[in-house]
């Protein structure tokens, strides 16, 4: 990691010099041009709900027409019908979104890991939940460069959505094909692999695989794939990644040390999902903290020391977070 910062909670604003920012491009306040939509809370109906393999479920929800179509990297909060054994809604990344008869149909790939997601897994088609969204800022897909999408495990789903968006003829940089790197512990954990193959082929993307045990693709991880791919690219890559934080840290480290832009989809335990409760802080990098301008940053997004995952994120640029302190 290029920038070590002092420990917990005490990073002092405006102090010290910006040590070794070396090859990192100069920091501007915001390079993000993700359109902002207004979230609403609305009832939704479970339209499809099935096993996707690797202990994951595929869920399709239909929300009313007033629900704005989410963008890749955005998330929604799913609230189970009450009375329910869990209190708070659960955040889920949107893995597909389309309009059908004016209504908004969204897909999600998720793992039942605890009480909330296990109760969700038991919702039959036809049953109702509530959805709140679209929330947060997604992947800035109009950034110049060759898009390299890097997924681990269930992180594959939002990035397939991104690959489709990139290839769409109406996209701002029109019909770009993506390099797609997908990794997991072993072949059994390459969740939704067949779907990924199909969908990425359909948008002329190129899919490469890595598993720790070499049971599919190269033996290694997505960083190894990235190392091999980077020198063969015809231009500067721009990375978009989704997966466990450990993998995102590694991608961020790789990108920062090479001055490559990387956008990482982060997670945090959340309560409100809308910036109100202040429950989902991620530590800002020292450079970001020093450049923090409270006049131009909506307070909903965070403060000098912490960015809120739900509003300023969940997708962050590598150089904006302090990866030493990300858990």
């Amino acid at each position: 990691m290029s920038r070590a910062e002092q420990g917990n909670g005490g990073a002092k604003a405006g102090a010290g010099v910006n040590g070794n920012a070396k090859s990192v491009a100069p920091l501007r306040v915001s390079t993000r041009t993700v359109p902002r939509t207004r979230w609403i809370q609305a009832p939704a109906i479970v339209r499809r709900h099935e096993d996707e393999g690797a202990a994951h479920r595929w869920l399709e929800l239909e929300a009313p027409g007033s629900f704005a179509t989410p963008l890749p990297g955005q998330f929604i909060q799913i609230l189970l019908a009450s009375p329910s054994a869990v209190l708070l809604p659960r955040p889920m990344s949107v893995a597909s979104a389309r309009r059908r008869g004016g209504r908004c149909v969204m897909g999600f790939l998720y793992a039942p890991v605890g009480p909330g997601t296990r109760l969700l897994a038991a919702c039959e088609p036809g049953s109702s939940v509530e959805v709140l969204g679209p929330l947060g800022r997604g992947f800035p897909l109009d950034q110049p460069g060759i898009p390299v999408l890097i997924a681990c495990w269930r992180g594959v789903a939002p990035l397939i959505f991104a690959a489709r968006s990139l290839a769409h003829p109406s996209a701002r940089r029109r019909g770009r094909r993506a390099e797609f790197l997908f990794g997991a512990r072993d072949r059994a954990h390459l969740v939704g692999l067949e779907k990924a193959r199909r969908e990425i082929a359909a948008v002329q993307g190129r899919l490469q695989l890595a598993t720790d045990d070499g049971s599919r693709g190269i033996r290694g991880n997505v960083i190894d794939l990235l190392e091999r791919l980077a020198p063969r690219l015809a231009g500067t890559p721009v990375l978009h990644a989704c997966g466990p934080h450990a993998m995102l840290k590694a991608v961020a480290g790789w990108a920062l040390s090479r001055g490559v832009r990387a956008h990482l989809a982060m997670e945090s335990v959340m309560a409100c999902g809308t910036g109100v409760c202040r429950g989902c802080p991620l530590p800002r990098s020292r450079a970001k903290s020093e450049a923090f301008d409270s006049a131009s940053t909506p307070s909903l997004w965070g403060n000098r020391e912490y960015a809120m995952c739900c509003t300023e994120g969940p997708v962050f640029e590598a150089r904006d977070l302090d990866w030493e302190r990300v858990e």
């Binding site: 917990n8 909670g9 939509t37 207004r38 609403i40 809370q41 609305a42 007033s66 629900f67 704005a68 609230l79 869990v86 209190l87 708070l88 809604p89 909330g116 509530e130 709140l132 945090s268 335990v269 959340m270 309560a271 409100c272 809308t274 910036g275 109100v276 409760c277 202040r278 429950g279 989902c280 802080p281 991620l282 530590p283 409270s294 307070s299 909903l300 403060n303 000098r304 020391e305 912490y306 302190r325 858990e327």
Partner: protein, 342 residues
């Protein structure tokens, strides 16, 4: 761009009802809006008893596209301190059975930004504003009220004497009757708005604190803030929060909060505002029944941002369905519950 859920617009003055008019269940719907919900908190006359709790509604504008904040009794802002606070490190939220623990650490924009940016925005939305302020010392609070005491459009102040998540100036520090009394006596002359003291539940006697606040010159009390709680992750062998403990809120605390609120109501003559686990109109009616003057909707807004409007609608429906034309005829109907027993 989506269309937001539009708040129902209500003609001004619609809540003023002909006094003592009995309404039968058949006319419930149209009569619900004619019920007199007026609520007095010291110098404040509120249109209804539903406020949103500090720290659960931001600075009032974040939820404004789904809640008509001008139709609420009032909006209590996130607690503001003299200087901005960044809050505690990650691990600020953990869900527990029917509740949640939080360890936010009073992250807030600070006095200056609150005054220059947040309050004007909230004013423009037509909300009745109660500014929540917090300090590490009595002097901090004096300075906050000196700065905000005459702020236009601020109807009152809730003094947060009860934050469980800060090292300095938290609930422990303030749970001292004489400190509360003296501090409030210093604050009293600094504003003509309502002065509301928000009390912690984790004390030997909330009645003693309540009495001290009344003596110090508070117009009203809020009972209660969150309960100190701890939840563990047995796999990682650590607390589920970044700091060991946090404040418990949500439905889990409603019976606890109701009992503390009742104790405070019985101890003092000034109005007490109930807070803790209120999600529905019926929850609110319980607090009002034991004599709370008003209620606050907190955690429920995280689950359904429109919760406060729903609580208000349900209070109206509850009263209408029982033919009660004025909230005053309900308020305190169970105040003397348990009176005279050991």
């Amino acid at each position: 761009m989506s269309r937001a859920i539009r708040p129902r617009s209500r003609a001004p003055g619609m809540t003023r009802a002909p006094r003592f008019r009995a309404v039968g269940p058949s006319r419930e719907r149209e009569s619900a809006h004619a019920i007199d919900l007026s609520t007095r908190i010291g110098p404040l006359e509120l249109a209804n008893p539903v406020l949103v709790a500090s720290g659960t509604f931001g600075y009032g504008d974040e939820y404004a596209h789904v809640v008509d904040v001008s139709a609420l009794g009032g909006v209590i802002t996130k607690t503001v301190t003299l200087m901005p606070r960044a809050g505690n490190p990650a691990g600020r939220i953990a869900e527990t059975a029917a509740g949640m623990l939080n360890s936010i650490g009073l992250e807030n924009v600070g006095l200056e930004k609150c005054r220059s940016e947040k309050l004007p925005k909230l004013r423009s939305l037509g909300a009745t504003i109660v500014a929540s302020v917090g300090g590490e010392t009595p002097d901090d609070l004096v300075r906050l009220l000196e700065a905000l005491g005459d702020e236009p459009g601020v109807a009152g102040f809730e003094i947060n004497f009860s934050c469980p998540n800060v090292a300095e100036g938290g609930a422990r520090y303030w749970a001292d009757p004489s400190r509360l009394e003296h501090t409030l006596a210093h604050l009293r002359p600094l504003t003509r708005g309502a002065l509301i003291a928000k009390l912690p539940p984790d004390v030997t006697s909330i009645a003693d604190l309540a009495i001290a606040c009344e003596r110090g010159g508070a117009d009203a009390l809020t009972a209660v803030n969150t309960f100190v709680g701890l939840a563990l992750d047995l796999d990682a062998l650590k607390s589920k929060l970044g700091r060991a403990t946090g404040g418990l809120s949500g439905p889990a605390i409603k019976p606890l909060a109701l009992a503390r609120c009742h104790e405070a109501v019985r101890a003092v003559g000034i109005p007490v505002i109930g807070s803790g686990g209120i999600e529905s109109g019926r929850d609110a009616m319980e607090f009002l029944a034991i004599g709370a003057a008003a209620v606050q909707v907190g955690t429920a807004s995280f689950i359904r941002p429109g919760a406060s409007s729903t609580v208000l609608d349900e209070i109206r429906e509850f009263l209408a369905s029982r033919g009660i034309a004025r909230l005053d005829n309900w308020r305190g109907c169970l105040r003397d519950l348990g009176q005279g027993r050991a």
